[in-house]
């Protein structure tokens, strides 16, 4: 019984922290700091997945946790740090909407995901449903970040934190087959390679990674 309560509380704490870190990403206005917060995001995810592996007694989830730790929390942020330094763009980020409204929107999205998920999963076991609600919140916050940023790198960070939310959902669904976890990790890997190529090419062609510069070349405006 004690174990049951403890496992619930820790899982709850970790999933809640993930939402909190998502909020921290929203108001970072420097790329460098944003990448650090993303690393923290991935770290919390790794802890959360590791805890799920322990309480569900599902050893294959440790693999997912290690992937989150090594790949997402260490390799990607380091690589992106190097890229932005090389490109000389570790200056401020423009947000399309100000910090205040963004945070308010973010709170609205979290409330929305709580209302939706908690209501529809009334009969599911409490851990799974709260995990799912948090996961949806992280997904929506990632989306919000992608639409409020103009910089290609921060859009990518938004996308990656969105994927973290998906991993949280997948591990919270007890007994979900390994296929999916590997695929999620794998897709992040591919996504990263693609993005890497793209950033490189964009730099080559435009000397900027500001998406607004891309907009000028939109098909029909010439």
């Amino acid at each position: 019984m004690l174990r049951g309560n403890l496992s619930f509380d820790v899982a709850h704490l970790l999933a809640g922290s993930l939402v909190l870190v998502s909020f921290m990403q929203l108001y970072q206005d420097r790329l460098y700091a944003l990448l650090n917060v993303y690393a923290l995001h991935a770290l919390v995810l790794a802890a959360s997945v590791g805890w799920q592996a322990f309480v569900q007694d599902a050893p294959h989830l440790y693999v997912t946790a290690v992937i989150a730790l090594v790949f997402k929390a260490i390799i990607i942020p380091t690589a992106l740090h190097r890229i932005i330094v090389r490109l000389g763009i570790h200056r401020e980020i423009e947000t399309v909407v100000g910090v205040g409204p963004t945070m308010l929107l973010g709170m609205g999205l979290v409330a929305l995901s709580m209302v939706v998920m908690l209501r529809v999963t009334a009969e599911a076991d409490p851990l799974a449903r709260e995990d799912l609600a948090f996961a949806l919140a992280v997904v929506l916050l990632g989306l919000l970040m992608m639409v409020t940023r103009r910089n290609a790198v921060s859009q990518v960070v938004g996308f990656m934190s969105l994927e973290n939310g998906l991993v949280l959902a997948a591990t919270g669904a007890k007994g979900m087959p390994l296929v999916v976890e590997i695929s999620v990790a794998f897709s992040v890997l591919i996504a990263f390679i693609v993005i890497g190529i793209f950033l490189f090419r964009i730099r080559e062609r435009f000397d900027t990674v500001d998406i607004q510069a891309l907009d000028r070349f939109r098909g029909e405006r010439q």
Binding site: M117, T121, G175
Partner: protein, 478 residues
């Protein structure tokens, strides 16, 4: 012994590796054609000997239709692609290194689409659609121009968001199935899910379907989520536009239909039909009006694809034997016609050296075969009798009139507006005083006219076995 089901996956996979390794354009283009041809033959054999479905791969009447259509258009497009890419190398728009990459990616795309169609595990299906998306992103950006990179980036971001939402929906389906079927892989196997769907938690299924509709709907190109589609079609190589419009949109639609079947079996869940009807109608009418202000020929036909996907989703949303039959027929006709149009457009753009409609004119005089081919294609896509699309649109509209007359009126409005837009532009491109370069095209006309001949035939006479096959699928879709 490898059965036909594994065959449609193994052949493209081997071909992809070979094409990535082999240099030289002439031979690899032929190898590409050969591989897609073998895949087509293997797919056709599904109708002769039906392999048994396992936990990972599934074959039934529904996906057989999709597989044969995919492999057929994949084959004809590879024939077109051989002459198209030859010209691109001549004018130096593509280097041999990129061509090798292009051919390998073409086969990976074929593999991913076939995998999505035969996958029995909903997780595997998701992985396949994700792979197909990523390969097309790489191909859209292949010209490395400003526009191509921007289109690829936009496609990548919007496609990934759609794919991510679809994964969330997939996880929710698993959550709904788990209490009934039990933990583990069984709760993700579609053929098991469908037998127990009635007992799933309806509330979870509802939310799952919303996510799946938004996620896979982005890939289908439904109206509020379509922003990536015109750019991706306009900036990539034309064979890829043909495959995108003709096939990849269908594959995403197929995924949506599988989940619709699950929901339809659960009496307490929301009816998925009305949601699809609304999104379909919005797409159809919106895209029809957007046709009027297009200046880029490939963009224009991309919007036409959105319009037709809207009609197809509308038909499947209405449901019932007749509307499903009409939707299926319309999907087949649209794939054939639209890829034929892109075959023509590809060569036209190469002759004129531009995709701008303002710089084209009098094609029927300067390049009669291409010009009249395009005219025929547009007549078909606009839904004029006696071609196949007229037949399928007529079925969609008449079956709707019998049930919901108001919806039919909106639909007809969309179709007519689109017809006006298409003919306005066609007039400028095909007739009048010749504009732009008038060089002879070095084109292979066979794929284009083969498709148009099939569409023409379908408009006059549908063979009985085909009708019977489609009726079976329509019944399966409920």
């Amino acid at each position: 012994m490898i059965d036909a089901l594994a065959g449609v996956l193994v052949i493209p996979a081997i071909a992809a590796v070979l094409l990535a390794a082999l240099p030289g354009y002439q031979m690899t283009a032929r190898l590409n054609v050969l591989a897609t041809f073998l895949t087509l033959i293997t797919a056709l054999s599904l109708y002769v000997v039906e392999p048994t479905s396992g936990p990972y791969l599934l074959v039934d009447d529904l996906n057989k239709v999709f597989i044969v259509l995919t492999t057929f258009v994949g084959f004809t497009t590879s024939v077109f692609s051989a002459s198209y890419i030859g010209h691109e190398i001549e004018i130096g728009r593509l280097t041999p290194k990129f061509v090798r990459f292009y051919h390998a990616m073409y086969q990976v795309l074929m593999f991913a689409m076939n995998l999505a169609l035969v996958a029995n595990n909903i997780g595997l299906m998701w992985v396949a659609i994700e792979t197909a998306t990523l390969t097309t992103v790489l191909m859209v950006g292949i010209y490395r121009t400003h526009e191509a990179l921007e289109a690829a980036w936009k496609y990548f971001i919007l496609g990934s968001v759609g794919i991510a939402l679809a994964l969330f929906g997939t996880i929710l389906v698993y959550m709904a199935a788990r209490p009934v079927i039990g933990e583990g892989a069984d709760a993700m196997i579609w053929s098991i899910l469908i037998t127990r769907a009635a007992q799933f938690d309806p509330a979870l299924l509802n939310v799952a379907f919303i996510f799946l509709l938004l996620g896979y709907g982005t890939k289908v190109g439904l109206a509020p989520l379509h922003a990536w589609l015109p750019d991706a079609h306009a900036e990539g190589p034309t064979p890829i536009s043909a495959v995108l419009s003709g096939l990849l949109l269908n594959v995403a639609l197929y995924a949506l239909l599988r989940f619709k079947m699950l929901l339809a079996l659960n009496p307490a869940a929301i009816a998925p039909g009305p949601l699809m009807v609304i999104m379909g109608l919005i797409s159809c009418v919106f895209a029809a009006f957007m046709l009027y202000r297009r200046r880029d020929i490939k963009r224009m036909f991309a919007y036409s694809s959105i319009e037709h996907m809207g009609i197809i989703v509308f038909a499947f949303g209405m449901g019932g034997a007749l509307a499903n039959f009409a939707g299926l027929l319309h999907m087949t006709m649209h794939s054939l016609t639209k890829s034929a149009i892109f075959f023509a457009v590809g060569h036209i753009a190469q002759v004129k050296g531009t995709q701008k409609i303002a710089d084209m004119g009098g094609l029927t005089v300067t390049n009669p075969v291409l010009g009249w081919g395009l005219v025929l294609g547009v007549v078909a896509i606009a839904g004029l009798p006696p071609l196949g699309i007229f037949m399928s649109e007529f079925l969609v509209v008449s079956s709707t009139f019998a049930r919901e007359p108001w919806l039919a009126i909106i639909l007809v409005l969309g179709i007519l507006v689109a017809l006006g837009g298409l003919f306005l532009r066609l007039n400028a491109i095909a007739f009048g005083a010749p504009r732009g370069p008038t060089a002879k095209a070095q084109a292979s006309y066979v794929p284009m006219f083969a498709h148009l001949a099939l569409v023409f035939m379908a408009g006059i006479y549908l063979p009985a076995p085909l009708v019977k096959g489609f009726e079976n699928v329509a019944r399966l879709l409920g």
